[in-house]
């Protein structure tokens, strides 16, 4: 029987992720989304296909997710990131019951049962509580995003960042720096502030162990530790936390194809041509 291949395309606000799977993951690519992200989805897909040594015609089914999902013209189906994260985490870490996804533009809490999302909360109103908060303050402090979390763990006297507005919090940290407060103490305060907001939101769900953290925020050790302190227990982080949505999308693509085969249904697929979204042309 001919092998089947499934692609998941997750277009987030800052990163575009593509995963190609068969029985296992064959290739994954993470690229910056950028201001004209929809133009790049096809290029990231081309890169992933090259890594997997496949042609686009070989892909059985393509699922797009993430906030830019509606603008992937070569996708066969669009599925919400809540469902894709749920499916991806359930596959990677089956013991997880609660997912905290910290993206560049929003953050979410997802409750899982039997591998599917049964409840969720989202913060899409305020940058505080998202990766954007850390991006803005990192820029103000002249620290790289990659170093922020590690440096925050060196704090001896964590300061309190009282502003809940991202812009004013950035001003506040600059003022504290001018007052001679040590950088790690400021960074620890920032991570505490963002963790407080995320925890406050996710508590609306009844948090059940185990808890996984996904998205770009999961790559920040300072934030992970701050959230663990709030939760009172350790959390799980997938091997590549940026890819859970794309993995979930690819897996859901497989589920759809299998289900259709069982029912004897023919699936409608997009033309196997990697094109840019026409919205920009």
């Amino acid at each position: 029987m001919k092998s089947q291949y499934f692609a998941g395309v997750d277009i987030g606000s800052t990163m575009t992720k593509v995963v190609i799977m068969s029985e296992a993951t064959l290739a994954s690519v993470i690229g910056p989304t950028g201001p004209e992200h929809r133009k790049l989805a096809n290029r990231v897909m081309e890169e992933a296909l090259a890594k997997a040594k496949l042609a686009f015609e070989d892909i059985t089914y393509v699922v797009a997710t993430g906030y830019g999902r509606v603008n992937v013209p070569f996708a066969d189906k669009q599925i919400t990131e809540i469902s894709c994260h749920a499916r991806g985490v359930a596959h990677l870490l089956p013991e997880v019951r609660t997912v905290i996804d910290i993206g560049g533009q929003d953050s979410k809490g997802i409750k899982l049962k039997a591998g599917r999302a049964v409840d969720f909360v989202m913060n899409d109103k305020c940058a505080a509580g998202t990766g954007r908060f850390l991006e803005v303050t990192a820029e103000e402090l002249g620290v790289s995003l990659e170093d922020m979390g590690r440096l925050s763990l060196e704090a001896e006297n964590r300061v309190e960042i009282s502003s809940t507005c991202t812009v004013f919090a950035a001003n506040e940290v600059v003022a504290k720096l001018s007052d001679g407060v040590a950088l790690p103490d400021i960074l620890a305060g920032l991570h505490e502030a963002i963790a407080t907001r995320i925890y406050g939101m996710v508590r609306r769900l009844k948090i059940e162990r185990e808890v996984a953290i996904t998205g770009g925020g999961a790559k920040n050790i300072g934030l992970v530790k701050a959230l663990e302190a709030k939760l009172g227990f350790p959390v799980l982080v997938p091997p590549e936390p940026l890819l859970t949505g794309a993995i979930g999308a690819a897996l859901l693509g497989g589920d759809i194809v299998r289900e259709a085969a069982e029912k004897g249904e023919t699936l409608v697929r997009s033309e196997r041509r990697l094109t840019e979204a026409s919205i920009f042309t």
Partner: protein, 445 residues
């Protein structure tokens, strides 16, 4: 400049019932009636819906001007921002109730100009003769709003009332205190009659009041019977339409027109049920609008739910009546006393039920009742940032519902009643999409 901003053009929302389609002209006619009354020198009363004053106002032939609802119209027309900004320029905080802010912005602007603000939607809101505040416990702007408006119209007298009702506690029976509440309400409404007689040159016709009360009792029953028909599968009318049919319930209570409207609605829904005609042909999910005022500028979100196979057979918001025959009202001859009993018994309607379920309360019981009677799959609520009185308690209700009843899927929408700056269409649709996914996941378990 605030007066240069033009509202965004919007297509009207698609209705499922003919009844809902009649509402726009009815609201326009009511506003026209206000302006006409002003020209004819008839008394106009700024009023709040569901204040308990409706029948008194109608019996005295005073023309009500529903100020919250004019703010809602500004929201529907996406023309609220300039009035919110006007209120802000008068130093009122944007974090106050945005209905009140719209009203304050409109009134202060009209008083400043000595005429209607430019291009007022549907002709604008006429200057009142009196203003009738009514807090009814939960809402402090309904006490303070008109007092604040008096800064701009010091010559317009305000009656600051508000009909109380026994609060729910699980360790007492409201019947132990109900007589005190009834006595207080009768005195309060009698005071209102005296106030209106003094400031409007109208005399209360007590026989006429009895007739009006009788019509409103019958209207309460007719509304209940019509809305009960929405239990049918497929559902013949959704919450999107109910956000329209609230108009005769709230603007016109105590009139024959209101009764006739709901009788027509009842007949229309019967016909739809007989023809198996639903809001949508393929009904997959039945949802309860579990609380919160809607975002008036985004009523098309209900159609978006419909496009995903979801209908709203029931809502807590603007279901402001119960069948009078179920309220166990004592027979009294004084129409004010009858209104007082109806008020107290309406609010206490689910006290007994709640006391039987530890951790519950009457609001939670209402959610449970609707979930069961309307075969509900999930609950949607709207948390409007500018409402400090009702909306913060909604999350608690939802949590208690899940604790004392069952873990039903739920969605919290976050925005406002009229302040469109709090709204993001793409994010709202993303939340609805994700909610539909969770409903599907729960159904297929």
């Amino acid at each position: 400049m605030t007066d240069e901003k033009k509202p965004e053009e919007r297509k009207p929302r698609k209705h499922a019932t003919e009844a809902a389609g009649k509402i726009g002209p009815m609201v326009k006619a009511a506003l026209k009636e206000n302006l006409q009354a002003k020209e004819e020198g008839k008394p106009i009363a700024y009023s709040f819906i569901f204040s308990g004053y409706d029948e008194i106002i109608r019996a005295m032939d005073i023309v009500p001007a529903w100020t919250e609802n004019y703010a809602g119209i500004l929201g529907v027309k996406r023309d609220a921002q300039r009035f919110l900004e006007k209120a802000e320029s008068e130093n009122f905080s944007r974090s106050l109730c945005t209905y009140a802010l719209c009203g304050l912005g409109f009134d202060s602007w009209r008083e400043e100009l000595g005429e209607m603000p430019p291009d007022p939607p549907w002709g604008g809101q006429a200057r009142p003769t009196v203003m009738l505040g009514s807090g009814q416990i939960i809402c402090d702007p309904r006490y303070k709003w008109y007092q604040a408006v008096q800064h701009y119209m010091p010559d317009v007298p305000v009656y600051v009332g508000g009909l109380p009702y026994p609060p729910y506690e699980d360790d007492y029976d409201y019947r132990d205190v109900q007589d005190y509440y009834v006595k207080y309400i009768v005195e309060e409404t009698r005071g209102l009659v005296e106030f209106l007689e003094k400031h409007t040159n109208r005399k209360m016709d007590w026989d006429r009041l009895s007739e009006v009360v009788d019509i409103s009792d019958r209207t309460w029953n007719m509304i209940s019977e019509a809305y009960d028909l929405r239990r049918a599968v497929p559902c013949p009318m959704g919450t999107g339409d109910a956000m329209n049919t609230m108009v005769p319930m709230t603007f016109m209570m105590g009139t024959q027109e209101a009764y006739d409207f709901f009788k027509d609605l009842y007949d229309e829904l019967q016909l739809k049920i007989a023809n198996k005609e639903g809001v949508i042909p393929d009904e997959k999910y039945r949802l309860l609008w579990g609380g919160g005022l809607p975002s008036w500028f985004a009523l098309t979100d209900f159609n978006y739910f419909n496009s995903k196979g979801a209908v709203f057979p029931a809502e807590v918001t603007y279901r402001l009546v119960e069948p009078v025959y179920k309220l166990d009202l004592p027979k009294v001859s004084d129409p004010l006393e009858h209104l007082a009993w109806r008020w107290v018994k309406y609010w206490a309607y689910r006290h007994d039920k709640a006391r039987k379920r530890p951790g519950s309360n009457p609001d939670v019981e209402r959610l449970i009742e609707y979930i069961e009677e309307y075969k509900i799959d999930g609950v949607v609520m709207h948390e409007a940032f500018s409402c400090r009185s009702w909306h913060p308690g909604l999350i608690w209700q939802l949590n208690q519902l899940k604790r004392v009843y069952r873990d039903i899927p739920s969605l919290i929408l976050e925005s406002d009643i009229v302040d469109i700056s709090s709204y993001n269409e793409a994010d709202t649709k993303a939340r609805i999409d994700a909610f539909i996914d969770t409903l599907e996941a729960v159904k297929s378990r």
